[in-house]
Symmetry: C2
Subunit: 252 residues, 2 copies
């Protein structure tokens, strides 16, 4: 783990790092409480076209540190953030569906392969966090949309993760669906599955099918109206309550 920078504000220490994984240099961030021991750690997987410090990731990371004394860890997914070639892409909500629909089978296959490769990067990150930061769990995972596409196979193959939040994803007649359903069946840890009832990218039946597929005895699905990027802010409270229940919370 090669540390790049460190800054502390409002009780949260943010440290940027680069981790060599095979031929890839994976950039990431660790957020920790500035002056309290780490109670648990949540790995945060961003969505497609986003990056490790996208506003939603940053606010969740800081919130977990401040409210629960957790550490948060995020990395850039392959082809995203600092690993992106070319200018940053800005996709408007109403373009999401057309953008995904316009992908060729070859592009879909390439994306699925890229996501599969990212599983090893998360494992290496977890190893490094344990070794270099001295954090020994418990660990949780949070990632919706592409964060589920990458995170679900990761969590299914990783016994160190004790609780996971997924969402904005489904299984059906699409490339990579069977692999995702297979991963879901292997997951037995508690799961919170967040879904948007009017998601432009995912049929309701596909979301319900993925919820069904999870092998976990404790799995809760939260459904809200609205599109892919319109999840209500109060679901962040639910995420915090979920992790607090399974990874621990401050007394009182």
């Amino acid at each position: 783990m090669d540390w790049q920078s460190e800054v502390t504000e409002q009780g949260v220490t943010e440290r940027a790092f680069t981790l060599e994984v095979g031929e890839e240099a994976v950039p990431g961030i660790v957020w920790t409480p500035a002056d309290r021991p780490v109670r648990a750690t949540v790995l945060i997987g961003h969505g497609g076209t986003q990056h490790k410090r996208t506003p939603g990731v940053l606010s969740l990371a800081r919130r977990l540190v401040r409210h629960l004394d957790y550490a948060s860890v995020a990395i850039d997914a392959p082809g995203h953030g600092e690993r992106r070639e070319g200018a940053e892409e800005r996709v408007l909500p109403n373009q999401l569906r057309a953008r995904v629909a316009a992908m060729s089978p070859e592009q879909m296959e390439a994306a699925a392969k890229r996501n599969a490769g990212a599983v090893g990067e998360w494992k290496a990150t977890l190893d490094a966090v344990e070794k270099s930061v001295g954090i020994n769990g418990p660990f949780g995972y949070w990632g919706v949309s592409m964060g589920t596409g990458i995170g679900l196979p990761f969590v299914a193959s990783e016994s160190r993760i004790a609780a996971a939040v997924f969402g904005l994803m489904g299984v059906g007649p699409r490339v990579g669906s069977e692999r995702l359903a297979e991963a879901a069946r292997k997951v037995t840890i508690p799961v919170l599955f967040l879904f948007q009832w009017d998601d432009e990218l995912m049929e309701r039946e596909q979301g319900l099918a993925l919820y069904d597929a999870f092998g976990s005895a404790e799995k809760t699905m939260h459904i809200n109206p609205g599109g892919h990027i319109e999840m209500p802010p109060f679901e962040r409270d639910a995420v915090e309550a979920f992790f607090g229940r399974h990874l621990g919370r401050p007394a009182g």
Copy 2:
């Protein structure tokens, strides 16, 4: 409102009352903080075969008082609790489905009519609580299963209720379903809808259809595995968070 008894324990004052509504004497209970002002009030509708002080109602009522400084109010539904003729009924979980399946169309119709009559009793209770207890809102409603069967038409026709929790109910090819769906379409306040994915009494599609029917801009459905009476205890945390968000919560 005719007060019957009063007892205070662990910060919660519990007062039993009887309210004359037409020809009916409706027995109820009001729980309030023993030594703090009332922040908001939640009306609690019990389920079929239960009563106003059934363990689930009692624990929710006390919890809302202790954690949120709310008042809680419960009444016996028609034919339930002190209004029941004959010995108390004890229905085992695995008998639920057979029991409902064995109901004749006439019995279903009678139950639906009885539930419709209960709407007026809740309105009278709310009037009395405002007048005699001096509580002026905001008001919420909580009721699943029969508590939704009665509470949904009540809430749909009652502008004083600001947020409601429903659940364990659906709409489909059953007596009373159209009336329930019609009521749901009229509801525009925030709704939390709790559903059990393996409910012996309700098809998944029926639950999803009722969620769909709500006219509310904010409506969240929580789905968990398990049968009609197996809702996970942590959904009580979600109920508390929901009411806290809409009816107010203590600072800090």
